[in-house]
């Protein structure tokens, strides 16, 4: 032992002379440290690289000098400079006979190259040879390099040697051979799969180090296929037991814990093996209980083991006693002052609530604490936990919190993640459509360009279709409040493109619907949008289409509006736009302005966005025409596949031909339809036997008979409506040519059908008329909602259902039930909402709260700091009395957390420092040496020479 120590000392100070590097290297480091700018540093290094290039190419340089040159090259590359010219020298050095040079060569090669590099092929041979070397250090160096450099194709070249080395007398070699084999397995499982039994053998190695290393590949293998390793459960449990009982040599102790890293690895393996396996888990409970009992919460590593134990318990077959122990430890973590432990606690809690959601209950305060914590990592982890525990009862609070947090994030990646989580939660658990729209608006406003465009379409659909379970009045109220809020927002700079698209669409559809705003006002706003985004064609297209719609509605109502001069100039500009889409829209608008009232009404029926677009795949509207052609002696159509000529041609050509023939066919079809459709489609359709699949027929018939609601058409239309919404308005040929024909009238009728479907009981009346009569009910419903939201807020604030269980109100559960049903209203419109009389019956709290007309402001109120007041006033007495308590505890916790948290980081260091004994002299010597050298690697840093552990 003593001898070793002297060797170590020699190593560190004596034998290699201080830092063991040449003066040139010292000078380099010194000058880099003194460089005042990045440019200066770059100059120094490129000079150094030039120098190295010359020296390395010089055949007279002694071999040992080469080693140093190569290390300098590694250093330069670490600082981010290209040193590729030296790679070949590194490869050459691996061939060297002398051990230090060979090792340096291997080091440089494995830092410079990777398995994909061309030069690797030159190293493989050397590795192969070195694996057979008598010198175990050479073998080790080769194994290390093999881990890094041997790719899939080279594995067979070295595999036999590596397998041989698994039985090498030196444990260091065995260990590395195991890892190399593992690495090969990761690269290409198939080439090593016949050798996996070797890992099992190595598990019984005499050396605990080799055994511990073997756990790594076994863990990977077990993850892949746990069932083939169930027989090892008993062995693993035994090993864990022996380790925990300190049967391993004390050299494996770390901070008084017996081989903690081996314990952790074993626990990880047991977690996988015991997952969902009652019998296997039964074997583990004993030893897990033991570890919990012996658990040392004072040291970091002790906590690491305990945490791994919790992970294991939450993964294996649940056992009440074990879960209790795990929950207890988790609460210790959460109560700890250390941020690291809190972080682990939150993570552990996230695992445990998967098994038993009630565990979260007692830790609500700690969780909220972590949410408020300044530490970003902890905050994110907590949001992850909240995300996992979101239910329809607490979704509002959680999503609000997330959005609030999201607004302040600058990190693009994380912002995207949290925005998509908000969207996901809102879509999954939204208590009401209004809330959903609100939430989406916020998400779009702050992270609009980061979310999927599908979400934007969804939102538009919701605004268009309304609540589904509620009446038309509430829908139009929702729309007008949406219009209000969008008009407020639209002037703001830097709105994301997708949000502007939504705004334009909504303003175009519903801007003038409630008569609150004049058409020219809305058009002015839309013009501003188009003007403010000259480069965004999509937004411009949305804006111009919206303007078109406003004009159409006005004309249909018989009102005359004047074209604003700037708007006219916009149209002129777009007519000459590079984008054909914009051009088309502009021309459509111009054409529409020339039409009379009757025509416009048919071209642009009001509120037609909810219509299903029927796709007539069989082109049945051509049946009459085809029939006529048959009668006139035309040849019947023969499908491509049945034609003899085409089959013989190659595949590609056939496709080509198909395309051209399709062109020909379509050309023919387009030429005549106006006459045909106007003549007699509907009467003849029934006469012609069309061999279409039944569901098409059904669909088709339904559209004609205008049913009050059907799941099939609803679902089918759902998808179409999403993206069809916009396109519908942008197809001039379709709408203008068929003006007075039967197709438009059916369109209008479908519109009525859909709206009655949406509105439930109401028939397709004009929006204006229903609005007034339904208004009262709507406000009552929203008041009810507010009450619910408030109670949810209170409940969710405490993160538990304790309050709900005691103060369970029939109304709230009922409402929860309906809220559960709402997320996809469009799909299940058939489900009737809670009967209105019930809602009216529990009117006491409703009447006390002020009737709110605008749900947007209502929600804003809930968001802000004022949100506490509705909680206090409207939740049952028990929770009211609790609230102040919670707050006081919470603030207490924060204070202690902060004060004691600051002392923590130094703890680990102190332990080590205490162990080190009198080393002050050494340190002083070193300081003196350093000062003599005058080397300052990091510039003028006063504490540079401080000991890392001192």
């Amino acid at each position: 032992m003593e001898q070793l120590r002297t060797i170590g000392r020699e190593l560190a100070m004596g034998s290699q002379g201080g830092w063991g590097q040449s003066k040139e290297f010292l000078d380099l480091v010194k000058s880099i440290g003194e460089a005042r700018s990045k440019a200066e540093e770059d100059r120094i290094i490129s000079r150094e690289l030039d120098h190295l290039k010359r020296r390395l190419a010089d055949p007279d340089v002694p071999r040992r000098k080469m080693k140093e040159l190569l290390l300098r090259l590694v250093y330069a590359e670490m600082l981010g400079h290209d040193a590729s010219f030296g790679h070949i020298h590194a490869v050459k050095m691996t061939h060297d006979e002398s051990l230090p040079l060979k090792r340096t060569g291997y080091l440089a090669v494995s830092l410079f190259l990777d398995e994909r590099h061309d030069l690797v092929i030159l190293v493989v041979n050397t590795i192969q040879k070195d694996l057979r070397s008598d010198n175990y250090l050479v073998v080790c160096a080769a194994l290390t390099a093999a881990c890094r450099l041997i790719g899939e194709e080279a594995i067979p070249a070295v595999l036999p040697q590596v397998v041989e080395l698994l039985a090498h007398p030196k444990e260091a070699v065995r260990k590395k051979a195991v890892m190399a084999l593992h690495r090969f397995y990761q690269r290409s499982p198939s080439s090593v799969s016949h050798l996996v039994s070797n890992f099992r053998k190595r598990l019984c190695d005499n050396d605990p180090g080799v055994m511990g290393a073997t756990l790594c590949p076994l863990y990977d293998l077990i993850l892949e296929d746990p069932n083939s390793y169930k027989d090892l459960v008993v062995s693993f449990v035994n090993i864990l037991k022996q380790v925990a009982e300190r049967r391993l040599p004390t050299s494996y102790d770390y901070h008084q814990m017996p081989a903690p890293f081996i314990q952790i690895k074993l626990l990880k393996i047991l977690a996988v093996l015991g997952s969902g396996d009652k019998q296997a888990s039964g074997n583990m409970y004993m030893v897990l209980g033991d570890i919990f009992r012996k658990g040392d919460t004072a040291s970091n590593i002790g906590n690491a083991i305990l945490y791994e134990c919790i992970c294991c318990i939450s993964s294996i077959f649940p056992n009440a006693k074990m879960l209790d122990a795990a929950a207890e430890t988790t609460s210790k973590f959460l109560k700890s002052d250390s941020h690291n432990l809190k972080y682990m606690g939150i993570d552990a809690l996230g695992r445990l609530i998967k098994i038993n959601p009630d565990i979260a209950e007692e830790h609500q305060l700690a969780v909220i604490d972590c949410l408020e914590d300044p530490d970003d990592t902890l905050k994110r982890k907590t949001f992850e936990l909240l995300y996992k525990m979101t239910k329809s009862t607490n979704v509002e609070v959680i999503v609000d919190r997330m959005i609030e947090y999201m607004i302040n994030i600058t990190d693009h990646h994380y912002k995207t993640e949290i925005a998509s989580r908000c969207v996901e939660l809102a879509e999954q658990f939204a208590p009401s459509n209004q809330w959903f729209i609100q939430t989406m608006n916020k998400v779009f406003e702050h992270a609009g360009d980061l979310v999927n465009i599908r979400v934007a379409h969804n939102l538009m659909r919701l605004i268009a279709e309304g609540f589904g379970e509620e009446d038309e009045g509430a829908d139009s109220q929702l729309r007008s409040s949406a219009v209000d809020s969008y008009l407020r927002i639209v002037g703001e700079p830097k709105l994301p493109s997708s949000f502007l698209q939504i705004i334009c669409w909504v303003l175009g559809e519903y801007g003038t619907a409630d008569g609150k705003y004049s058409a020219s006002y809305i058009i002015g706003k839309l013009y501003d949008v188009a003007e403010a985004h000259p480069t965004d064609d999509t937004v411009r297209a949305y804006a111009i289409s919206a303007i078109l719609k406003i004009f159409a509605f006005e004309i249909a109502l018989g009102r005359k509006i004047d074209m604003l001069p700037e708007c006219q100039s916009l149209i002129d500009e777009l007519s000459a736009s590079h984008s054909t889409d914009l051009q088309q829209r502009a021309y459509e608008l111009q054409a529409l302005l020339g039409l009379d009232k009757q025509a416009v009404e048919n071209v642009m029926p009001a509120d037609a966005s909810c219509e299903d677009i029927e796709i007539d795949r069989n082109l049945s509207f051509l049946n009459g025409y085809v029939q006529q052609a048959f009668e006139n002696g035309a040849a019947p159509y023969i499908p491509e596949s049945e034609r003899s000529g085409v089959v013989s041609v190659g595949n590609y050509k056939a496709q080509d031909q198909q395309e051209t023939s399709a062109h020909a066919l379509r050309f023919k079809a387009y030429e005549l339809p106006p006459a045909a459709s106007q003549a007699s489609i509907s009467p003849t359709t029934d006469l012609v036997p069309v061999p279409e699949p039944s569901y098409y027929k059904e669909d088709h018939q339904m559209s004609r008979s205008q049913p009050s609601g059907d799941s099939l058409s609803g679902e089918f239309g759902l998808k179409l409506r999403l993206d069809g919404v916009q396109k519908k308005w942008g197809r001039p040929a379709y709408s203008s040519s068929s003006t007075p024909s039967s197709s438009t009238s059916s369109q209008q009728a479908t519109n009525g059908g859909v709206s009655s479907e949406v509105g439930g009981s109401t028939s397709s009346q004009a929006r204006e008329s229903t609005y007034g009569s339904k208004r009262q009910q709507a406000t009552e419903v929203s008041a009810e909602k507010q009450r619910l939201a408030a109670s949810l807020f209170g409940k969710a604030d405490r993160k538990a259902q304790a309050g709900r269980k005691t103060a369970k109100e029939s109304s709230s559960t009922e409402k929860v039930a309906t809220a559960n049903a709402t997320p996809q209203p469009a799909k299940e419109q058939v489900i009737p909402s809670a009967p209105p009389p019930d809602l009216l019956d529990l009117g006491e709290p409703v009447s006390s709260s002020p009737p709110l007309a605008d749900p947007f402001t209502q929600l804003e109120g809930l968001l802000g700091p004022a949100s506490a007041s509705p909680v206090v006033s409207e939740t049952p007495a028990s929770s009211t009395s609790k609230t102040p308590d919670l707050i006081s505890i919470f603030s207490d916790d924060v204070q202690t957390g902060v004060t004691s948290g600051s002392t923590e980081p130094s703890l680990g260091v102190n332990v080590v420092a205490a162990k080190k004994g009198p080393s002050l002299q050494d340190a002083l010597q070193k300081d003196a040496a350093a000062r003599q050298v005058g080397v300052t690697p990091t510039g003028n840093n006063p504490i540079l020479f401080k000991d890392l552990l001192g």
């Binding site: 830092w19 990777d114 260990k175 970091n300 990091t938 552990l949």
Partner: protein, 163 residues
Amino acid sequence: MIQAVMVMSTQGKPRLLKFYSYQPPEKHQDLVRGVFQCMPDSVSNFVKVDAIFGPGAKLVYKHLATLYFVFVFDSSENELAVLDLVQVFVETLDRCFKNVCELDIVFNFNKLHTILDEMILGGQVIETSSEQIMRSVEEIARLEKQSNTTSLIPKSISERFSR
């Protein structure tokens, strides 16, 4: 699996870089910068770095004197355990260099690589006993010295500077 080990100064200068999963060399500096930027925000020793290293990636860092010791790893490792692994590494350095300081690390980065190779191989932890690691490193040094008895390098630095 451990994806990378970095040692960098408090100014963000890399002192040691070792990647266990392939990262193109031209990206190394960006990674160092990214890692360096995300550390000071954090009160705890853990930082999520999935933006830099891909999904599930986390890092554990330890700030000692003028250096950050950073280990980047994926979800298969336990954060607290890795924190202790950093500690093992630093303790080993301290045994090796006697009161290790930044200059030791700058000048002996090849030795740091040797130590790391004894601890971590192919991204997996193979040895966690700093005593054991020291023993191997010393053995390597001894054998290297045997095969290379004469040294071109001058005895001490002061000598060099007096010239």
